[in-house]
Symmetry: C2
Subunit: 328 residues, 2 copies
Amino acid sequence: LRRKSKDIQKLTQGILNGNKTDLSQAITLIESQSKRHTEDIKTVISTCLPYSNKSLRIGITGVPGVGKSTFIEQLGLLLVNQGHKVAVLAVDPSSSVTRGSILGDKTRMEKLVQHPQAYIRPTASGESLGGVARKTRESILLCEAAGFDILLIETVGVGQSETAVHSMTDFFLLLKLAGAGDELQGIKRGIIEMADAIVINKADGENIQAAKKAKVEFNRALHMYPSKSNGWTPKVKLASALKNEGIENTWNMLSDYFTKVKSNGFFKEKRSSQNKFWLTQTIEDSLKKEFYQNENIKAEFPEVLEKIHSQELSPFEAADYLLNKAKS
Amino acid sequence: LRRKSKDIQKLTQGILNGNKTDLSQAITLIESQSKRHTEDIKTVISTCLPYSNKSLRIGITGVPGVGKSTFIEQLGLLLVNQGHKVAVLAVDPSSSVTRGSILGDKTRMEKLVQHPQAYIRPTASGESLGGVARKTRESILLCEAAGFDILLIETVGVGQSETAVHSMTDFFLLLKLAGAGDELQGIKRGIIEMADAIVINKADGENIQAAKKAKVEFNRALHMYPSKSNGWTPKVKLASALKNEGIENTWNMLSDYFTKVKSNGFFKEKRSSQNKFWLTQTIEDSLKKEFYQNENIKAEFPEVLEKIHSQELSPFEAADYLLNKAKS
């Protein structure tokens, strides 16, 4: 026992010294389903917590094929060359289906992955969104304790993972392509509304005209939303990650954003409300889980639904009945 | 005790006979805060439940000044004259603030209120949205048991009450005015997305041109949303409630909708999913309420938030801690 606690101490110290192997090992513990690992990692997290919270957290989303990996690699390379330490994490609760679309294939960022100031971590997979979100939040914390000052959190542009990533990042960047036809067709409105910026990627060669047109349309779409409480107007930019064009321009925009929200207090305010969100979200998820996994409830729920359907019970009577059952 | 149960039986029988005085008394019991009244009304609701579920439930929303009362009165008069029995209810959890804006002033529907086949009930006020929603759902049920076959559920176009009304009606109608400037400015996007139809009211006299222009713009806005699962394309109509123009046209559209969704099964499907929504919503609200009103939690919550703020606890550690506290 003595020895194990010594190992944990060593691991923690390694993280605080910026050792990437130790960081990887700790994130593996975070992702582990084993109860002992969960206990071990709690100590690591507690010790690292005071050293966290210091990075810029940037969420990046976009549907498969939009060029996320290339974009992130170029942005990452720009930043490490400026002296930053960059960590790339991914949130993808559905990764068993989309495997390969999101950081699975590390070789897609082969230059960045070899850079000493960069750290790339593929996603934890095959889990509930709540579980993945918690693991990602905890991984963020360890990356920060390890001295990474810019975090790029990638997610695929499908499903609910955007909301999770939006709730754990300071800036939310949506990558788009200039497509044929109506630019606004088929976009999840909620995602556009969350975006602090839209970058239209692959704006090169024959795509240039379409990209410029898309820029106008997205600008119009963004202006239909009420202005954000942070005083930031969402921007639309063009880029070609493949040709390394528009990346520096994107970073300048991000810098402007951070200067603005750090000086007007919104940066701190947002993190504080995100913390409160994760606190209440975790509590409420846990309360629901406990209720619906209660043996009495599992046994009676289908029957109760049937009684609502046949108008023997109103939904409210049914709720009262089940709430009582959960306690008996 | 014997006598009381006899009274309750009489009250229930009155409702089933379509007696409006009994219906009003029962709704007053629904709205009462007294524990004894709550017990009494449970019996009434249980007995009425099998006779409910038979009306068309139409949600109507719009900001103050849009002419809701006049519109509802004209639509109501059209329907009672066609032989329907029409009940008008209102959802307004904020009514202590907006008093007068929503059914408070009955005289605004003075013709309809006097019609034997109409029933108008002002809103329960000064309550949580969850509480008001439950009371409204229960009032709907009693109105249906009393033989009202068309229910108009009014709400003001501000806040969250739209979502509640949307979740308890078959059709959601948004009333708008043709204003100056950009028609899409300042509209809550979520409300537009919920609408099965937008009716531009006060489309008369000098307003006609602006109303026609607004119609084009709203049509464009509606088409930006993904099409609805029921196969219904939201419509935009012009009306002038004051001049009784466009009301019959609106009703024809509603009739088309109901014919369509009744034949394709969506009508039943939607009610069934609404029932499930209210079941789980009531359960989850109750679980949260119990947790946050727990004395241990109330005592420690501010302190725990402070510890998250000062990075002594992560939101997840804090959640685990509080969840344990609630059980001790």
